[in-house]
């Protein structure tokens, strides 16, 4: 330690801490814990979405403190990595439902195919009508497919992987926000059908919302997300080349 330094220099401590992985990791967890507490407090109201709140808070902190995204991600990557592990874990609720899924295979597959088609047509059609650039339109093709697959599909049809990731995440947030009021308006009460519809339209973030409302809804949402991901990876690169 340098002589003459009595009190700890707060600026130095901040410079040190903000450059270590501890910063991004702590910020992510604290923001989520606070946002989730708010979500529970509001009885899991869909508009008090924990991801939306945490992301807004973290972006505000980073913008205010001038810490670049890359530096934040040094720490946040540990949380990001577990997204893959959590994806693998989705097999567990699916396996618990296996016997009833087998009987419903045909309607469920058809629901994914038609829901996915509606997503592509509406997304590409609306963006074209409103004059979005070609890169934007191509990046929207796979927006209802789970983020890591959507990124790969966007690259194949001439979109931007980063924009595709952003659009996919926005889709997840919109899906989580509209699911409860929309499905209530349609008068759908069956938890499995409700969860499945959310999973088709809004992949992982919709699935997270579904799990927080009802475990059956969550399991069916993850099934829909998995099926949409696999069918999307197989079909969308060709569909994209046809319509773009």
């Amino acid at each position: 330690m340098k002589p003459g330094v009595g009190l700890p220099n707060l600026v130095e401590i901040w410079v040190y801490l903000s450059a270590t992985p501890l910063f991004g990791l702590t910020l992510t967890l604290v923001a989520y814990v606070a946002a989730d507490a708010l979500y529970q407090r509001f009885d899991k109201h869909p508009f008090v979405n924990p991801v939306l709140i945490s992301v807004s808070a973290i972006v505000a902190v980073l913008a205010f403190s001038g810490v670049p995204y890359r530096q934040y991600f040094e720490g946040a990557q540990f949380v990001h990595f577990l997204l893959g592990t959590a994806t693998v874990a989705l097999a567990v609720p699916l396996a618990r439902l296996w016997s009833e899924l087998r009987e419903r295979a045909l309607p469920l597959l058809l629901a994914v195919l038609l829901g996915g088609t509606a997503s592509v047509i509406l997304a590409v059609g609306t963006a074209r009508l409103l004059g979005a650039s070609d890169v934007f339109v191509a990046s929207l093709v796979a927006k209802s497919v789970t983020a890591p697959i959507a990124v790969g599909i966007a690259e194949q049809v001439g979109g931007s992987p980063t924009l595709a990731a952003v659009f996919t995440l926005m889709t997840g947030i919109v899906g989580a926000l509209v699911a409860t009021p929309l499905l209530n308006a349609l008068g759908l009460k069956d938890w499995s059908a409700r969860g499945f519809a959310v999973g088709v339209a809004a992949h992982g973030m919709g699935t997270a919302r579904a799990f927080s409302v009802h475990p059956r809804a969550g399991a069916y949402a993850s099934l829909a997300m998995g099926l949409h991901g696999i069918l999307g990876a197989l079909l969308l690169p060709f569909a994209g080349k046809l319509i773009l």
Partner: protein, 153 residues
């Protein structure tokens, strides 16, 4: 719990290896999920530690999306310039993609409001959780509380 986490990581690694070898666009964790699903169906039961690890991760699935979502800040300018187009495209297509399967399944499977409420528990470990979620979830549904199937028909 640790044993279950280890098993999840083993399947995640298997998925990554298969994707690298086959140069597929499907991400490794999705392949890992399919492999684990096949493993569990063949085994006919879920090891308790795996069930705990999976339930623990899935209860807070939302947190894992945060680091990637914060990346939105990198594209603030481009996104602002074409704001109306992509926002409307995403809202309309997401609503449409939800309405289509919802109506199809409602018609095809029939709407059974008792689903998951009084029925057989999916699994011993999740049954209690399901009941608690049911009570909370009732508030989120505009319709009256679920009734037994005999009355509904």
């Amino acid at each position: 719990m640790i044993r279950g986490l280890a098993l999840l990581l083993v399947f995640q690694s298997l998925g990554e290896v298969i994707v690298k070898l086959s140069r597929s666009v499907v991400p490794g964790p999705v392949v890992g999920m399919v492999l684990l699903f096949i493993f569990l169906v063949l085994r006919k039961q879920t090891p308790e530690s795996l069930g705990k690890a999976a339930d623990g991760l899935l209860a807070h699935l939302a947190i894992f999306y945060i680091p990637a979502a914060v990346g939105v800040m990198l594209y603030a300018r481009e996104l602002a310039e074409q704001g109306l187009a992509w926002v409307l495209a995403i809202v309309l297509s997401t609503v449409g993609a939800m309405i289509v399967p919802a109506l199809l399944l409602k018609r095809w499977l029939g709407d059974r409001p008792d689903d998951g409420g009084g029925g057989e528990p999916v699994d011993g470990s999740t049954a209690g959780q399901a009941e608690i979620a049911d009570k909370r979830a009732d508030k989120l549904v505009a319709q009256p509380a679920p009734k037994p199937a005999e009355d509904a028909s």
